[in-house]
Subunit: 439 residues, 2 copies
């Protein structure tokens, strides 16, 4: 993409409304623009990141055996009345009346809707397990939306739902999502720690929030420092196998959010030099809730002996749009964003310091085309302007590589390659620079 | 995907509420399920088609130089008051009040929102042209939703908006979308004819509806029969060039919807044996409206002489979810859907007639794995049951190829390959059958 054509309205000044780094940087980098309180438009650069994150989430859901579907944003109030949540949910629920005066709502989540579908379509224990997800916009009418897309009103969420015949099977579904979530966040360059979370009316140990550490996080968290040493991407995962040993590698170590924190257990089970206390951002939540919805809504199957069995359910959420902010909170410096490779909107920015110079223009065009034809997402700074502004802009938007073309090097086909993360700069031939970017 | 695990709740009976083929077949094939009047959940098979169609739309928008972004579903009423549409729009506009009593709405379209963004971010004629699109859910509170997703309330639409400095540039943007639309529909196996449509307050010849012929279409249309002979995919398109000659290949021939039909011109310009009168379904609409919104909302740039120039705009919509239905209306028979290759949810269905037979089971598993590892979307009928039911089910869901494994052939590694479209069946070795499916 040529910057002379791209719609990238970056800001020079820090926007006064932004209190945290991700909000500030997303506005400055031209990724988002507020539409109304807590509701944002995703401009082209932001939309690219949102899509890359969605694709990683989708890919890991599919690998774990979950099937994608797509439920609507507007739900009938009836099913929420059945579950009892229509009255229980506070003013965060956006209630709507349609032209025929029917009560509707903008879904903040989809337990009722998926339960309604499954109770009508699934009749026998032989049709279980079912693990279904969608990636869809949700609405939560926050009283004070803040931190940009981190606590917005309209947000993109992946929510998955499991339906099982008994507790053992439900636990297998839970473990699949547990591992899929570890892999999902790891692929985005994040260390997300699963922490014991409030388990609702059922109790038990099957509720975990996935938390990444950041000073601006909304929760206080406590964990064993060894949690940070495990890398799930080094594990050979077989979703058909019993995942319990893998899951317990994480769950055996102390890790809890504020609400679930037990300081005496913390001190008993974690040596002093391993006690980690920090602020965290929740990026995912997995939750087993047994028959809460299936009981209320009559979702049952016939068992092997013909008897009626109420299905066991769980739900599994990832804040897809929130992740964009969370990744920035974990990956930035004073100059701007530092995108991990897997979610970067473009892999490389080609910076032409003097496009009005013939040699620079030819070399710049050649580099840009070579990268493009090798399938590398490339942003080409082909506009006239001061070098300092171009460098600052590239650092701000934080692409992993900057390939810099200046009049001095261009004569000999030499370019400079800069890594945004390490700051290291190397002078290379055009070919070597391209090879290093592609690798 | 193994059918023993896949969530595909097909129906044996014709649902009584469905009046047209696509609605009936989408319900029967387990693609969608009604949530409330005019609002549907897309089950896994339907979601796959919706995604394939979206990807084709996206790819052609990008090729034409449009840039993807993503605007929210919920808009503030303020900008609609600025444009004057808040009062002008009827009860189809879903009006919402949030917890702070602010007037909001679920967007049926996004002219105001994109104009608000562009007027704040684009200041100079040098930043034009801009061609921006998104693929997002829309809501139109139809008084009588009908025909399934063809005339639903919540629907997925691609809408693109152009901003230009003058009429000539606006016409170039219009022509880009004209050609992109021809290519988009052609890639889905549809012959969509651009027809003169109501051009709104500005008049002129820059408004076209793209119509596909189907007996169940809601509009009466009139056109020159030669319209059907052109195939844009045989043309070498260069979006940097003047597209006027290519566009006029279509616009020179008479083609108009009911509202724009001029019977004396029709009879004068079309020979009797070329006069085509039929029912049609609108799948896209492109529209130049000059400064209608930019004037009302103060969207201007500074021109080369420093003067203020109000931007020229156009909008370009494709009904993405509606296309699923339109494609079925154009591609089905008494037995079910006949998917064009490019949008089929799976390319091949492997039908194991006797999975309980050891040889069938081994061969079926082998074929399924070979297809999968060659990147072919494959649905594997691995359930026990009667052959007749399996065949009827496969014909219903309409995958392009059926690869049938029975006990007789399995012993010698022979399978039967059936084309859903032609009905032709060939007995082949497993290898040859796979090769033909991959080709």
């Amino acid at each position: 993409m040529r910057l002379s054509e791209y719609f990238l309205p970056t800001l020079k000044e820090n926007p006064s409304e932004a209190q945290i780094a991700s909000h500030r940087l997303m506005l400055r980098a031209g990724m988002i623009r507020q539409s109304s309180a807590g509701i944002y438009s995703w401009l082209p650069l932001g939309e690219r990141v949102l899509k890359k994150i969605s694709e990683i989430v989708r890919s890991e859901q599919n690998i774990a055996g979950a099937q994608e579907m797509l439920m609507p944003t507007i739900q009938p109030a009836d099913i929420w009345k059945e579950s009892g949540r229509y009255d229980a949910y506070g003013p965060e629920l956006l209630r709507i009346r349609d032209r025929h005066n029917r009560d509707m709502l903008y879904g903040p989540t989809n337990e009722e809707q998926i339960t309604e579908i499954i109770r009508s379509c699934v009749k026998s224990y032989r049709d279980l397990p079912k693990l279904l997800y969608h990636i869809q916009w949700k609405f939560r009418d926050e009283v004070r939306p803040r931190f940009g897309i981190m606590r917005g009103r309209e947000f993109l969420m992946k929510d998955c739902y499991s339906f099982d015949f008994n507790y053992g099977a439900a636990r297998r579904s839970y473990n699949k999502m547990f591992v899929a979530y570890l892999r999902t966040f790891a692929r985005m360059g994040l260390t997300a720690i699963p922490m014991r979370a409030e388990s609702g009316p059922i109790g038990g140990d099957m509720s975990h929030e996935f938390i990444i550490m950041a000073d601006t996080g909304e929760s206080q968290v406590f964990c064993h420092a060894d949690c940070f040493d495990y890398n799930v991407l080094e594990e050979l995962v077989d979703y058909q196998s019993d995942l319990e040993p893998l899951v317990s590698r994480w769950t055996d170590l102390y890790a809890a959010t504020d609400e679930q924190h037990d300081s005496s257990e913390f001190e008993r089970s974690v040596p002093p030099d391993k006690r980690c206390e920090a602020r965290g951002i929740e990026v995912g939540h997995i939750f087993y809730f047994g028959t809460k919805y299936s009981e209320a809504m009559g979702a049952f199957v016939s068992g092997p002996d013909g008897g009626r069995v109420t299905m066991e359910m769980g739900s599994y959420g990832i804040g897809v749009s929130r992740l964009v902010g969370a990744i920035i909170e974990a990956n930035h410096d004073d100059d701007g964003i530092i995108w991990p490779d897997s979610v970067a909107p473009f892999r490389v920015g080609v910076v032409n310091l003097k496009p009005e110079d013939h040699k620079c223009n030819v070399l710049g065009g050649e580099v840009y085309e070579k990268l493009r034809t090798n399938g590398i997402d490339t942003l080409y700074e082909d506009r006239e302007g001061r070098a300092g502004v171009k460098f600052a802009n590239m650092d701000l938007i934080g692409l992993p590589w900057q390939l810099i073309i200046g009049p001095r090097g261009a004569a000999g086909g030499r370019v400079e390659l800069k890594s945004r993360k390490t700051g290291q700069r190397d002078e290379l031939s055009m070919e070597d620079a391209i090879k290093r970017v592609i690798a």
